[in-house]
Amino acid sequence: MNRNYLGLNFRQRAARRRVVVAAYLSCCAIVVALAAGSRPGMDFLKLLAFSPFVVMAFCWWILNQVGIAYTGSTTHPLDERQEQVRNRAFFRSYQTICALTSLALLYWMIAATASTVVLWYPNTPGEYATLVLLFLYVSITLPHACVAWCEPDFLEDSRPNDLPATQ
């Protein structure tokens, strides 16, 4: 994590949080575009729904870099602190995924059975496939997103070859 991307310094938590927000706002934008695009005469929105995938791909890559910087690469064994960071991230992700899945199922039940209000839910195979892709994206990126969101700033004095100031 030695480089800046798009003028953002990812050693700072604030910059990393922006990436997390951008990633999941893109997911929300796709769902909104799919829902709005299912109305008559709004088909162009379905095409627009694919544009956030570019943002999501960039965010995925950045979050992956952050995750590796904080919890180590997959080729080296983790030390006890890195294991703690990773376990905390998995635990938070698990909680979030459970809550999101429960909410989505609840919404689906209401949308499929409600007779008084018209709520959108996927009808075509393309819509289902997009939602499955979004779910996969969220579940894959969430542990790294938790690390990016929660871990403190990457301090300059954490450079490996710095000697401490002499006493």
């Binding site: 030390d79 602190r81 954490s158 490996p160 000697l163 401490p164």
Partner: protein, 98 residues
Amino acid sequence: MARKVSSTVKLYNRISVLRAERNLTRQDLADELGVNYQTIGYMERGDYNPSLELVFRISEFFDLPIETIFSREPLPPLSQELYGRKASLVSGEKEKQR
């Protein structure tokens, strides 16, 4: 009644001082202890409390008792502790001579 123990007790340590004395980089110490160099930085800043196993490894590496390296109270500078002890020894000897 069981004593309530906070999970966020800060552990003070002298790792950076001992590292300076031995002219070691974070990477050198990390390699010796088998941890990531960032973990050394986290411990030095007091952002991470090491496990008992790692504390023992640090103690063995520096060849010092654990209580010399780690404390639950802020640690005084080593020089102050050393000269304080020396001064008390000198004053004790003077009293004996009287």
